[in-house]
Symmetry: C2
Subunit: 240 residues, 2 copies
DNA sequence: AAAGCAATTTGCTTTCGATCAAGGCAAATT
DNA sequence: AATTTGCCTTGATCGAAAGCAAATTGCTTT
């Protein structure tokens, strides 16, 4: 029973997309069909157009969605962090590959049972719909980056995006809120695939930020943002 | 009465996203709140984060969704053709600008009334949700193009996309189905903004396709695809 | 601590697309 | 008819990022 409540905590509280608008009783119904899964880095959850047999909330870790050309060029088209939702209700297939980037803890729901709950619980599909609109917005934001930003701007945007994301899921290991410090979940190769650049260009841009004392590096993965103002300037502001 | 039925035809039959799953009686309810609007090219329907007071189906013409950086660099993040839906149910704002590219005929619905119908008609929101998933898929498809394709591949992909789109909405003026011929709705500048290229690069790539006898040009806007096979080869195939 | 190995960085060269600058063409204006 | 204007094409040059080849760093394993 205590364990059950714990599971409720770990799944409901953190999973904005699915549970944000639900009553406690309904979250209990979700928890009743929930299972948990631990996956190692590099695990392919869904291979291109294959069928996915479950939905899931990410409890911890990072999942990447990728698309690949015939000759191997790859583009990351989505990054899902803790509290994000995985899967497409009422769709058999997804035209991309989903793969774990780090150790990932999933809270999974059987496809059929979940879809029945979605139909059953008032406002649930509405909630998923709004979440998909959010995903569409960030995809389009990223299209602007891919099509029109320079390598320097891309890397700065990426670091700020990850920093913000790590913060909202409570992963920052920092005292000063203006100087966030966190572990990059992605390798240089993955950052390159995310930004539409090569490994070398990503590395050079990160080195430049380090030389300019805008960021600090400990090892390859631990980044601290030393000068938030200049990092944001390096990213360029949107308007319209 | 006759006019009413005509409007029914022009709105229901062609608007997949909204009406695809609806019964005739429900389409009638939609038609009851429908108004029509004719807009000239270059008309801004929605300016960045401004509020949009109506939803609409596009009866004819093309609408572009754009995002712009502070210094004027622009990226088209969506292209909507006839039968596409415009607007975001239950959202006040959209983080991009929507602007007509050609003369556009809209079938509009008052925001409040439309949202009431969405809540009222069973399966309507589900339908809109699935349509948004489609939009997300094409946005991600385009991210792969923006991040990883060469200028030549981008232009070839664009021409094939437009050809397919013009065909499905019945705008091709061609006898041979393997040699589609159509009017480009976009200027060179707009194609460039769509592909993340410059005007000059777009022009050069189109010229190259013409010299190679893969496409034919009459004037600047009328394109015929002469060698579908080689155009598709120029685009590169996806896999994964 | 040393070895082994993969990931990252760095230097050098090349290439693709951007930028700059004319020039052509057709429709609109006078 | 002459001029302007907008849009597109073409040529020449430039520059940012890609490509390639070491060198280096940072983990793992022993």
């Amino acid at each position: 029973m205590a364990e059950h409540l714990l599971r409720c905590e770990s799944c409901s509280v953190r999973h904005r997309a699915v549970c944000g608008a639900l009553e406690h009783a309904e979250i209990e119904r979700l928890n009743a069909i929930a299972h948990h899964k631990l996956l190692p880095p590099g695990h392919v959850i869904l291979h291109d157009n294959a069928e996915m047999h479950y939905f899931a909330n990410i409890v911890s870790g990072v999942v990447k969605l990728t698309k690949t050309l015939a000759d191997g060029r790859q583009q990351i088209v989505g990054l899902q962090f803790a509290s994000d939702f995985l899967g497409r209700p009422f769709r058999a297939q997804s035209p991309y590959t989903a793969e774990t980037v780090t150790d990932v803890h999933l809270c999974t729901y059987d496809k059929g049972k979940f879809e029945r709950l979605v139909k059953d619980i008032d406002g649930f599909e509405h909630r998923l719909f709004q979440h998909t609109l959010d995903e569409l917005d960030s995809a389009r934001e990223w299209m602007l980056l891919l099509g029109r930003k320079s390598a320097g701007e891309k890397v700065a945007s990426f670091l700020l995006m990850v920093a913000r994301r790590m913060e909202t899921i409570g992963c920052k290991a920092s005292d000063d809120p203006n100087r966030p410090r966190f572990n990059l979940p992605l390798s240089r190769a993955e950052i390159a695939d995310f930004l539409g650049l090569t490994i070398e260009t990503v590395s050079r841009q990160i080195s430049r930020l380090k030389v300019d004392k805008i960021i600090g590096l400990e090892g390859n993965r631990t980044i601290s943002i030393l000068d938030m103002r200049r990092l944001m300037a390096a990213m360029e502001q949107e308007r319209d």
